[in-house]
Subunit: 428 residues, 2 copies
């Protein structure tokens, strides 16, 4: 059997400790699968004193992750510190510059600096792998980059922030408003220190940008992701959507059209009986669609010690096995400059309006939508104790901009009592 | 860019033609992802004259697939003929013996000869890859062998024969008996020439044996798969199971216990609201469970031109990229000799009994089951127009053998009017 592959682990939070546990527990199994032993030689974290529930005494300690990355006895840097810049990026660059492979779970760093890091890796003949950065334990980066490599990818979708899916499904099951469930989630420790990363869709947007780059062979373009968080999703819309056969998810969609790639992460309706619609709680789901394979759905835990460490180990074992594939599936210098679609692809919409209870109000709405070329698939008016009548509309597919314009005009009309709510519907 | 990777395709049925179409349609994309062009140089099939809807004029023709495998201008044999022995095996052996890589969709060949072929591949430094042999377009072999390589796998489950799942879901949705739906499926061309391969669970059993070998690091042991087909699943059981919150699937389960590996492919109840329970029609699903990752669910088309060709191409691109991983995830000579579990793992059961409508009948059943150590979770007696009363029982987990013995005894009792039906229930 060959020489051990020597790992330096930077970051000993939940995931880092999980990786240490796997290496310690499964040495023989990992060696058999890798074709060589895996050995942790050095570790680094902020506090040496902290008890992490794992025995680190056999490993060299470095206070500085950059120094860890540069150690002669480290072949692979396992970067689990997080943060898009600062030490994580410095350590990653140090390792890659020295021709060392890097395995990272750092979605923010890759979403913002993925292209530069992929180029640095290739210049130095090093691997840069990030399965753990997207949807935790689900091997979706591998499925897309390798398993589906024979496909022209048509669409990638994903529910990739477990906290948001927990909040949305809990709102529905408990009948609680957003603010209450948000506080519950905070108390349970489900939220990032800056909760906007979760509920604002930023974290999930980072992940989508990574999958999108692989899917469409273009440079990571996080700034091109249209972001909308779940903060304004109301329990009312969740219930009405359910009435119409849909559920609301924080859904990422990346699709390629004639004039470029469209990436969005926003609250979206999906059919209640689809795999995405049936997804409960903190579980993640990634949907990959290709011209040959059709639709592939992947489901699993999107976070947590074991699942994320599992993804890290998959990458480490690939490296031990000698697998060498460009970070984004093709050489970094062949990735296209991002081309953002000017016009969003047509899709069906859910629209909620509050109409004054006066003659002709509904006719007025229908007429204005019709004039804007927006065709109504279904419309439902609800009982209303007050003076204003809630009306739900499901449109046939139309350009989102056309609907936005039409609703902006309707909002100024005297028959509309409140700001209209519009959400996109994705076939899933 | 490097030299082209030269493919020889043996077998030009649906899948073979699909592979040709992908190579012809996506040359640039495949070259970018593979790091080198992919070129078909030669093909082989039974009839040269047949119109397959693809232009084969640029490729050399071989009547004999073994000769194809031996050609100097073929680097990779793509074996899509099928059949566990005969020409498929001869061509595969010829290629591997010559140190050429083989990509195959041939589950029967691998289920019966996988160990010998893996050894032959490794002796000759060749790759043997078979993503397309299991669950069509779903990259489950890759997910298990590579993505989840850091896990001790605890259980693998799968609905891996689309025809059987079509029949079972159609029986339920149309309220039709097995024989009628079987004939429908035959008319639709869903059945193999020998339908026992499908409805007898053999085809799905082949696939399970392959996943099981990878999961547990042991030699493929198809003979160790306990097989039971769907031929005797009644519409009655489908309905009653649904009443109790379950659906019946032809489910493969492989799990490792203290005394060995247990593999079974049989009609099984799964919770109706689980991903497996929600699976409709011809779609396939593979569930992988590991100690770190928890549960990963993969869903997609299990057959057909595009999906299967997609899986073939994923393997071909891996080879073009220089990926070299042993066929079953670790060197063939380190795969353990199959050790079959003597005792099946305890599980809950669904039992349907027809009882004589006489005082004490139900008490008799409950008493006998209790005496056998079988504890009842739920029991339901149905209206009965006739003299005999259908009774459903869901047991708490018990050793399957204990239940079999208890039911055999009950079957001889005067209060039981018909042969009891018992099906296992899997948590999913």
């Amino acid at each position: 059997m060959s020489e051990p592959l020597r790992l330096g682990i930077a970051g000993l939070g939940t995931v880092g400790a999980g990786v240490v546990k796997i290496v310690q527990a499964h040495g023989d199994m990992l060696a058999a699968r890798s074709g060589r032993p895996l050995a942790i030689t050095a570790v680094s974290a902020r506090s040496r004193a902290k008890n992490r529930g794992v025995d680190l005494s056999a490993y060299a300690w470095e206070d500085d992750p950059v120094a860890l990355a540069r150690r002669d006895d480290v072949d692979v840097l396992v970067e689990l510190m997080g943060g898009s810049d600062g030490l994580a990026k410095a350590a990653t660059e140090a390792a890659l510059s020295a021709g060392k492979d890097v395995v990272t779970a750092n979605k923010a760093m890759l979403a913002l600096h993925g292209q530069a890091l992929a180029e640095l890796a290739e210049t130095n003949g090093a691997a840069l792998r990030f399965e753990a950065a997207v949807a935790g334990g689900i091997p979706c980066v591998k499925a897309l980059t390798e398993g589906l490599a024979g496909n022209r990818v048509t669409r990638v979708m994903g529910v990739m922030n477990g906290t948001c899916n927990y909040i949305l499904t809990r709102m529905e099951s408990a009948g609680l408003p957003y603010d209450d469930v948000f506080e519950e989630a905070r108390a349970l420790g489900y939220l990032e220190a800056d909760p906007t990363l979760d509920v604002g869709g930023i974290d999930a947007g980072h992940k989508l940008a990574l999958l999108s780059a692989i899917a469409f062979g273009s440079q990571v373009d996080f700034d091109g992701v249209q972001l909308q968080g779940i903060e304004r999703v109301s329990i009312d819309d969740i219930r009405r959507a359910r009435d119409m056969g849909y559920r609301i998810k924080l859904l990422g969609v990346a699709q390629s059209g004639p004039d470029g790639v469209q990436q969005s992460m926003r609250p979206t309706l999906v059919p209640a009986d689809s795999p995405l619609g049936q997804l409960e709680g903190a579980t993640n789901m990634v949907v990959l669609e290709g011209d040959a394979v059709g639709q592939i759905v992947l489901r699993g835990a999107g976070a947590g010690e074991g699942p994320t460490a599992s993804a890290v180990m998959g990458d480490v074992i690939d490296i031990a096995r000698g697998v060498s594939i460009p970070a984004f599936g093709q050489p970094a210098d062949t990735l296209a400059t991002p081309r953002r679609a000017n016009e969003a692809a047509p899709c069906a919409h859910y629209v909620r309006l509050l109409l004054r209870d006066e003659p002709g109000a509904l006719a007025h709405v229908a007429t204005r939508l019709g004039a804007a070329g927006i065709s109504i698939d279904r419309m439902r008016q609800y009982d209303h104790p007050g003076a204003d009548a809630p009306v739900l509309i499901v449109t046939h597919p139309c350009p989102p901009a056309d609907l936005t314009d039409a609703l902006a005009e309707l909002a100024t009309s005297s028959v509309v009592a409140d700001e209209p709510v519009a959400l996109q519907i994705q076939d899933a």
